[in-house]
Symmetry: D2
Subunit: 339 residues, 4 copies
């Protein structure tokens, strides 16, 4: 069976695993205070061009979103997100569980526009009843988005500008950031560090067994570590995260292995178009959304595993094929041959 | 200055106040265990045609919504509401503060349709990712709605049917229920008791100093009183609520005094239409939404107090005039004379 | 039946009720923005000798405790309280419901000592594992305490000094503050305003139908009103609270009516001692704790209503008699006659 | 430097790591739905003698405690724990963050006694004010405890009996369960499955990189998986946990590797006693608590890493030496040689 269901179906990149083996019996202090964590943080700071950044390692994406958002918001604030944002639909209400509302705004291809953001903030602050409403306390975006799309540097600049104008932090969910950086878009890691107040570099979907690196370019909120502990998000063997990110940020490995997913995705997209399939959205990263006629979908589902995304109409369905750092070109060709 | 800003600008109906005076020095047990509370509950049960109902008295509307919703939802569930529902926009995130998401659905004139509700529930249960999503655990509607509109008996039946089909409770926010019952619509208190799983009869906006009567026609969740205590919603001098509702539910006072607001509103609407004003929405109850040209609005605001509702376009604004049990027809005529 | 069960068994002081009647049909804006609230706040500021204080009116004690504590604590902080503190045992976990731990310290006659507080804070800050623990973020005391006892000015000074040293706010729960001020102890309202960061003046138990006045002598946290809304603690008809406190703080009424409770309590205590009853604790305020032999308790409970407090031993029980602003000396004498 | 600071200072047992390597490129579904998780669950069910048990894999201890406790408690309930319980002091308020109080009871050597539990429950249910209090909704114990001590089978039976009598679940925190099972105490895994309602088998401290296996012998609460997602505790690459536990529960590896820690600890205890050191507590498991004279402590701390536990008196300190599955006897002998 061909497997394109998601980008977290394999273990870790071999170099990551190798380092875990080599360091296995070293006795190290817990909770992220070991020297591998320190080294990984330093490498990430360098990659971000941000020597003063605070870096933390958490285990997974939903956990990271909830930890960051609940740490930054004041009690009476909520987080703005595009309605398709992962926190709004697919995290089982993790943000609300911490007591905060997700303020859902319109999206286009998964993205929040600076105009919509500004209008919302302006309308809120002009509203005479605002003291009875949830205060917009930060903005959440994902890059790549849930639809695999990317913000351009100009779009990110514009969002950042609005956030600064209204003095709310901008948080970028980079669960798939590697694939965003690898596909040749004009947003670099340094741009992100410059334009956001906090973001995370996803490991789980790009080479690690688990782990997300949270970066606060302008410094973390006080006692962020204790807050992660309070949410059950502080790993005792922090080494597991530090070692992995240390490897991923050595010799640009994170970006290099991500490029593989892009090449595989590009080849697949090309073939899909050649064969007359219709893309639901033109994603430049490792997620490909295709509109399949239902009987076609059924036939293909006997040959390959992919994700149901949403119903398109009574005859068609949107499905997703995901590639990853581990996808082999042979698999792509095999899939193409049965399309 | 003429005052039409809201329906809670006076104190209590004189009969209510009179009873508070008469009973003032009676020594009564606390926390709603006194005989006035018992008497009021019994009268409400009778009015609802629901002898087995559990009735509780809480102090205010937002408090009641948060108490009821958080008591009924399981940890992994959220509450469905029309996007204009009071809990979604104007309660400062009180529901989210208790850890639950408001699942906002489309609205029409402030109302949730049975079709939209069914589609949402069906789509959720068909979604292969639903274990990663917030479970829809109850439905919230208001009657009258935030726009003063009302569900017809058929609409309420249809919503109730969907809720039963999907085994979720239906909660009706009756902050202004008196005005809904008084205006001749085809939904009675008995209908509401039959078709919902919990609702409240608003006192604050209809004759009381404060107080909302929560009715669970099929019985309350275990230890509801302790949960209200946990939310700071349990009044020590429960008598204050019991006595007020006892009076309001004696000789149909609640409905009778509400009729005054409807008559006043009808007269005002009539005059507005005669004078060529455009209504934003045709509300049958005590809230009248008018589209004013901005200079007109400015002029009127020097003569009367009313509520800004929302911007209509660059030249016009939607404003609200509210009548109440206490509005005198002279005030209406005076307002009409300056329109 | 003689009734000494608690100090909230009557309605409001007649002067309070009278003002509610007189002002009943005045049209006033909502949510505490009316001129009676403003006047009451001003009178309270004056009484506290604290012109710059922020004052808010909430409805009840548990609500006020939860609102103040959750507004002041950071997410990773808990509130220190004596183990007998009302928030620790008798508020159904209202503080924990807002996500915060109550850090219970030893008590003596219901009081927290400055030494115990300092030791706890010092031990915490010396603990190498403190990042894995709940940070002590404020201190809660009640005055009078749950046992009717009072802090001396020296004790309060000492507690305040420790709090300032460790930079945590000191919160004084004054649910029965009137009785504390009326009994001739050396702590004045001005002292409390000077030595604490927030406190409340209880109305429910001293002359009002409901209501507690929260005073932040050094200013309130930003958007405190929105936070109370978020907790369902913001009353629509704020006038109900403002008018009551306006009366209670006119001509020193609050203190004067409280003196009645003290005189009644003193007479009762005297008689109890004369008749050989043993006091459980020597409270100077309006709550009297007596150790009754169980058969004696049974006999008395047929003649008077009082509160079970706790089991003393297999043969004896601690019970409480409470007086109030409304207790008549005849009632006391009648009770004494059956002791 | 000799390292005895804790039992999570190494990586994983080599057999565990080996399996991670072998399975690394297998494409597996996410969120614990892969066949390794299934296999591990089956082996755990068998080891527990409990074929109907529900088993889940979570990442860490604090996370697991918060997930289990918040999933089992009703909104108005708290969790009983000995005052020294990990959840009460060293989890940064993770339980309170989910809205629930920890009801701390006295402890002896880290253990909760059945008598204290019964007394507490009886007193609660006899209290006329219980509706204003936090309901005791479950009991939490750890085995081994925070002091390395163990419940005897009789003690566990007695606790279980009280819990059943009062119809509250009993939860056993087995963060170090392997060391409890390996030291020859009379409580088996089957006993635990029989006597508790939920417990977890700690991986992090006994051979795994991370991971705790939660066992509900009588079935899990509905939608437990969604609740873990809501808390950010659901791992995308569930395989990481499944594979590790599959290895640990093959050929009794979990218990076997734990025995190493016990042998090492026993040898160390023996030597400490021979050399005249005073044990603070006589723990049968892998944690050794010693009272050191302060200058002695200082000298030793230049040679070995161990944990500060608590101040004993002005001259002495309690410290902890921990052994683990990975401790080599040479390290023990080396430590002994410098004692």
């Amino acid at each position: 069976m061909l497997y394109f269901e998601n980008d977290y179906c394999e273990g870790a990149h071999p170099a990551v695993l190798q380092k875990l083996i080599e360091t296995n019996m070293e006795k190290l202090p817990g909770y992220g205070t070991d020297h591998y964590c320190e080294s990984a943080k330093e490498k990430i700071r360098t990659a971000c061009g941000c020597p003063q950044a605070d870096v933390f390692f958490l285990v997974g994406g939903t956990q990271t979103n909830a930890a960051v958002i609940s740490a930054l918001l004041r009690r009476y604030e909520g987080v703005i997100a595009p309605v398709t944002g992962h926190i709004n639909g697919h995290e089982a209400g993790a943000v609300e569980y911490t007591g905060h509302k997700v303020l859902a705004l319109p999206q286009k291809e998964g993205k929040l526009s600076a105009d919509d953001l500004r209008n919302f903030l302006k309308t809120f602050h002009d509203d005479g009843n605002r003291e009875h409403m949830v205060f917009p306390g930060m903005a959440y975006i994902s890059h790549p988005t849930e639809y695999g799309t990317l913000y351009s540097a100009a779009e990110l600049e514009a969002l950042s500008k609005v956030c600064r104008e209204y003095e709310i932090p901008l948080f970028l969910d980079g669960a798939r950031l590697g694939y965003g950086l690898a596909c040749g878009c004009d947003v670099t890691l340094q741009d992100i560090a410059r334009l956001t107040d906090v973001f995370y570099i996803g490991g789980t979907k790009a080479g690690a067994l688990c782990g997300e690196a949270v970066v606060f370019p302008k410094g973390a909120p006080k006692h962020f570590m204790t807050m992660t502990k309070q949410q059950g998000a502080l790993l005792a063997k922090g080494r597991l995260l530090g070692i992995q990110f240390d490897v991923l940020f050595t010799d640009d490995l994170y970006k290099k292995i991500s490029e593989n997913a892009i090449q595989a995705a590009n080849r697949l997209k090309e073939a899909l178009c050649e064969k007359g399939y219709e893309l639901y959205i033109d994603s430049p990263t490792n997620q490909i959304f295709v509109i399949l006629e239902n009987s076609q979908m059924e036939r293909l589902s006997r040959l390959a595993v992919f994700s149901f995304w949403e119903k398109y109409d009574d005859m068609h369905t949107v499905v997703r094929f995901a590639t990853s750092w581990a996808t082999r070109m042979e698999e792509i060709e095999e899939l193409i041959s049965v399309l």
